[in-house]
């Protein structure tokens, strides 16, 4: 194996491939294209994957919303079409009876589902905004980024029904001057003064929330809008290892039994399962990754076979040259190893060029899509994938080189010399 590290071997190979430029370039393009497709595709798939993950990072992946609708079946003497209402009592029953629930946050809102938003006033400025009544546990299900100096609603706020609120970025820019610190300031929400304790940063992540929402303690909301024990909807996060689809069914059947609804009634409670949607999207992204891997490797394969093909033709072309070399004292092994090394060298060079080109393209796409709505972030190809591709190329390059190499030495030097 010493010849691999011998400078002379490489000088001979450089001589051979450097002086047959057309052949070399054509050979290289095949593999270059293959590895380029592989890198660009798998990087893009990864970028899409990252993009989806980023879009969902503010919401627990296995969360769901559940709300009450009206019955569609008569049951236990109740007629059909009965309007249902979630109650605070449902929360503890659900927690006890559905073990898959990790966190459950009852929520109320005003100005979201068709009713009138609250009038919010700060001095001379005013606007209409949606108001949410929330528990601190809500942030465990959907992360709320709060700007420095502020906080979200805490347990004391709930206990004492404090009149505090967390406002949105847009609310701040519309109600306050630019250099004014909103934290600690008072605003009037539907004629009640609230002290601002935080400003939340809006991250788009599905759902109906916007950058102008105002969050107040659930208990305060109840007093302000006289909602009593009513709950608008429940936001539920299941444990990571739980089956979200099963959890959704369990939650609904427990609710049906509490509210005396026919277990078969599909329309009594509405729900939206983020986890299921998320799984579907991630499944799509995984499928993309797999597809790009298959397509990429197939393209590399095609490229390497192309190299073999061209080398085979070139061996035919070089029959005489190889015959001369053997007459001058090249052993069959020397001839073979020269052709295999040419093959491997071309493959690796083409591969490295393809990797560089692919990486450049990926970073170009990244800089174009950055900050846009397109779910695409940080497109990378894991190093093992790259190394794997390189190893595949070296192995395939060697194997494919064996065919022309074997052909080259199968001709007797005397016949090779005779060939015109």
């Amino acid at each position: 194996m010493n010849f691999i590290f011998d400078k002379n071997t490489w000088q001979e190979i450089f001589g051979s491939i450097g002086k047959n430029k057309t052949r070399t370039v054509i050979t290289i393009i095949g593999v270059l294209w293959g590895i380029f497709i592989y890198i660009a595709l798998s990087g893009s798939a990864k970028g899409l994957d990252n993009g989806f993950e980023k879009a969902f990072e503010t919401v627990a992946m296995n969360s769901m919303f559940v709300w009450a609708q009206s019955t569609s079946m008569p049951y236990e003497g109740f007629k059909t079409g009965r309007q249902l209402q979630l109650k605070m009592g449902d929360v503890s029953v659900l927690e006890n009876r559905v073990p898959a629930i990790q966190n459950i946050a009852p929520r109320n809102a005003k100005g979201v589902f068709g009713d009138e938003p609250a009038l919010v006033v700060n001095g001379q400025k005013s606007g209409n905004y949606a108001i949410y009544g929330d528990y601190p546990v809500f942030t465990k299900i959907a992360t709320k980024k709060i700007y420095d100096g502020g906080r979200f609603i805490n347990d004391d706020d709930i206990e004492q029904s404090r009149k505090v609120c967390v406002i949105g970025e847009r609310t701040q820019s519309e109600l306050f001057d630019k250099d004014e610190d909103p934290i600690g300031a008072y605003i009037r929400v539907d004629d009640i003064y609230f002290q601002i304790v935080g400003v939340h940063k809006f991250t788009p992540g599905g759902g109906f929330e916007t950058d102008s929402d105002i969050f107040i303690p659930f208990t305060t909301f109840r007093k302000l809008y006289n909602t009593g024990d009513n709950v608008g909807w429940l936001t539920i996060a299941a444990y990571d290892d739980a089956d979200v689809v099963q959890a959704e069914t369990d939650v609904k059947s427990v609710l049906k039994s509490i509210h005396r609804v026919d277990p078969e009634d599909e329309r009594a409670f509405g729900s939206f399962n983020l986890g299921e949607v998320f799984n579907r999207i991630m499944g799509f992204a995984k499928g993309m990754t797999f597809l790009s891997l298959v397509v990429g490797i197939a393209t590399i394969l095609a490229g390497v076979i192309g190299i073999g093909n061209i080398l085979l033709i070139s061996v035919k072309e070089r029959t005489k040259e190889l015959g001369v070399r053997r007459a001058l004292g090249a052993t069959p092994n020397e001839v073979k190893s020269q052709i295999i090394l040419e093959s491997v060298f071309l493959t690796v060079i083409a591969g490295i060029m393809g990797i560089i080109l692919g990486a450049a393209t990926l970073s170009l796409i990244n800089s174009i899509t950055e900050g846009g709505d397109f779910p695409y972030a940080n497109p990378t190809v894991p190093i093992p994938y790259v190394l794997g591709a390189l190893v595949i190329m070296v192995v395939l390059g060697t194997l494919i080189g064996l065919i022309p190499a074997q052909r080259a030495v199968s001709i007797k030097p005397i016949d090779a010399l005779r060939e015109e």
Partner: protein, 233 residues
């Protein structure tokens, strides 16, 4: 230097067998310049190929510089060729993408001689054949005579025991042929053993000994007075 005893060689042509060499015996001493003559089909090229270890005899003994040449595998044959023999072909057989110097240096590459020394030695032999200025030209930029001189330099570069020339002037006009023969004579003057296959009488008479082959046997083996090629140049 070369010893051949009862050499036989036949080629299979379908169901027929063509007996090309029918018992060849001869010896060549060191420093001889031998012409092997004969019409086409007389077996002279076959004999040269066997001498050059490019082909193997069916039976008979072949000893080169005291080394019996028998049952060689390709690798061993290649090593012997590299060590003992220099080839000069009718069609020059230079590698077309290598410069004159690189062509001359090629046998040295297979002797694992470092690049620098290879190039120095190649330049030395190119100078000897008078082509020092053409060292970096490709074969396509050289005339026929120049190509053959590069080929001779290449055959010399490995400092072989025997030079084998297969119709070295076959593709050249007579003036160039004499130039090439002049060079071969000069190399012989320095003590090198050279075998030349030719079917041209005047070329044969520029050697010191002529072996006439006919139908696979040696018809005549004669010493001749050498005609110096330099008088025609």
């Amino acid at each position: 230097m070369i010893e051949i005893k009862d050499l036989h060689k036949s080629y299979k042509m379908g169901s027929n067998s063509l007996h090309v060499l029918k018992g060849i015996n001869f010896t060549a001493e060191s420093g001889e310049l031998v012409a092997i003559m004969g019409s086409s089909g007389s077996g002279k090229s076959t004999l040269l190929n066997i001498l050059g270890m490019l082909d193997e005899a069916d039976s008979g003994d072949y000893t080169l510089d005291g080394v019996p040449i028998k049952n060689l595998n390709e690798t061993k044959a290649a090593k012997y060729r590299n060590k003992f023999l220099g080839f000069i072909f009718q069609s020059f057989n230079l590698i077309n993408y290598k410069s004159a110097m690189e062509n001359v240096a090629l046998p040295l590459y297979y002797q694992k001689i470092p690049r620098k020394e290879r190039q120095e030695r190649a330049m030395k032999y190119l100078e000897q054949v008078g082509l020092k200025e053409w060292a970096h030209h490709l074969p396509s930029e050289l005339s026929g005579g120049q190509k053959q001189r590069v080929a001779i330099a290449r055959a010399m570069a490995a400092e072989p025991k025997v030079l084998l020339a297969d119709e070295p002037t076959g593709a050249l006009d007579s003036t160039t042929s004499y130039e090439v023969m002049d060079l071969i004579q000069k190399i012989n003057d320095e003590g090198n053993t050279i075998l030349v296959v030719t079917h041209e009488d005047d070329i044969a008479h520029m050697c010191k000994r002529i072996i006439h082959l006919k139908d696979g046997v040696i018809e005549k083996d004669e010493k001749v007075t050498q005609v110096r090629a330099s008088q025609y140049v």
